[in-house]
Amino acid sequence: MVKQQFETPAKYKKWTYGLLAIGLVAFLAGFFFLGLSKDEHDQTRFWAGLLQNSLYFLMICNACMFFICINILGHASWHTTFRRIPEAISAVVPVFAVAALVVFLAIIMGHQHHIYHWIDKDAVASDKILSWKKGFLNPAFFLIWTIITLGVWTLVGRKIRQLSRQSDAGEITGEEARRYIWNNTVWAGIFVVFFALTTGSTIPWLWLMSIDAHWYSTMYSWYTFMSSFVGGLSLIALFVIFLKNKGYLEHTTREQLHDIGKYIFAFSIFWAYLWFSQFMLIWYANIPEETIYFKPRVQGVYKAIFWINFIVNFIAPILILMTRGSKRNYAVMTFMALLLVLGHWLDFYQMVAPGALGDHYNLGWYEFGTLALFSGLLMFFTGRALAKAPLVPENHPYFKESLIHHT
């Protein structure tokens, strides 16, 4: 008999509440010492930290739903044995969506113009570039499109999770199975198309690229998307290994882990490709409006973060995950997945901080405290979502195919 019901282990609870406690203390301290501070720089630091963390966690959780959808669309079967894990992670999307929305509202209503320069009406009026972008970069469009995006991610994600649960009722055969796969395919298609319109293009422009309001890059959305996708895949790997170690998911073997490892390896390289392409085109053309983005990052105070980002997110995975053995090794995969989740968190930091904080950044107790808070939230809600549904979709039409998966 397969262990279907996830029971949160005591240690997991201890870690979750520990992280939440640390995070909450840091958040409250941040709110009183930074958020309510008279100093605008401190206020900006407070909101930038929340912005970075809520967006990063929202996007990596949503990337897990994207992972399920591309597998459905590709009629892939290999992920069926552990499909409930990315589903459970993506169930946290509404939580982080609310968090992100609150942060956006606070930034825009609270007029945090050091983060989003374009919300300052006077500055826009006297600024040629920003007034050209006014049709796109204005608070009304920003909020409406953000709310639509968060709503559709939440609702379509929920629909796909519900469809997945339909297989729990009993065996699905013949015509019924065909209809089940078709329904999944249609909804996955809707999600992926909407994902392309949001994470694949407009959303990173609005949420992150507009922090450097004068600057733009056509690579930016893909870059952000890849960053969040690698983060999401690493999360899946972490949870799969964790559940394996606790004796769940007995059908998920090294073969599946190997394929998750391949995903992480391949998309880390693709991330680096976009990282480099964005840099090289700007470096080559050498136009001041564009190079201004890389000035603080490559030559300024963010130099260390910029290169650590590259080493952790590209050099490490390409060298460590290249061999077959390391992708099939639980310890190596755990290490790499943890490293990449933190690495892409740092990547998001270097997207947010230089534009918002200028040269006086401080990667300290508040930033890591917020990271702890959001990690705690992620663990808490993912653990709850895991317990809600059977861990293995045993009646899924592709289940048998997934059992004999061989890499």
Binding site: F276, M280, W283, Y284, N286, M322, T323, H406
Partner: protein, 197 residues
């Protein structure tokens, strides 16, 4: 190349083949290879074959390509034919990375293809012995290599008992040769009839 004696058994079902491979190996026979019409998942593991080293070769080719590109471009642009391109430094790594990447891919791609052909002994005009024409159609052909100690009759009977539909003994050249393909060429000097269990 040397001519060796082989006991050949044809299976027409994967589900019979897998237990047969296990039994034959357990009995101590040396399986030279199993020829299948399509890649059979897990068969390599069942046969106890080691992982291929092709990827290690690929890594070495890739490194060769990378260093070739870097060495060549940096020699041209900083020593042999120094020019000013758009005011960039002579040694501008960022501009070379696309070419370094291309040469890395080219070297590893071509190198691995050639290595693969060498390992499989695939080349124009190279011929190899076919144990059974059905191996490219619908038969799984298991070939057991005989040593001086192998009792051929016993091996044949063993294969038939393990589920082989057709069993015979062939003398065959193990390597490859050059020449024209001759359908009527005598590839083995004796052929026993079908043994049924």
């Amino acid at each position: 190349m040397t001519i060796k004696k082989f006991v050949v058994g044809c299976f027409d079902d994967e589900d019979v083949l897998f237990p047969a491979v296990k039994k034959v190996r357990k009995e101590g026979y040396k399986i030279q290879d199993v020829y299948t019409p399509f890649p059979v998942h897990g068969l390599d593991k069942e046969l106890g074959m080691r992982d291929t080293s092709l990827h290690t070769a690929g890594f070495i080719y890739a490194l060769t390509g990378l260093t070739t590109a870097l060495g060549f471009i940096s020699w041209i642009l900083t020593m042999d034919w120094v020019q000013n391109y758009g005011g960039k430094p002579h040694f501008s790594l960022a501009a070379w990375i696309p070419i370094m990447f291309e040469l890395t891919v080219l070297f590893s791609g071509v190198g691995m293809t050639l290595t693969f052909c060498y390992l499989c002994q695939l080349a124009p005009f190279v011929k190899k012995h076919h144990f059974h024409p059905g191996a490219t159609d619908d038969k799984f052909v298991m070939v057991i290599e005989c040593t001086s100690k192998t009792n051929v009759q016993e091996a044949e009977a063993f294969l038939a008992a393990a589920g082989a539909k057709e069993v015979n003994v062939q003398m065959a050249e193990t390597g490859w040769w050059l020449g024209r393909y001759d359908m009527n060429r005598k590839l083995f000097d004796q052929q026993t009839g079908v043994v049924t269990a």
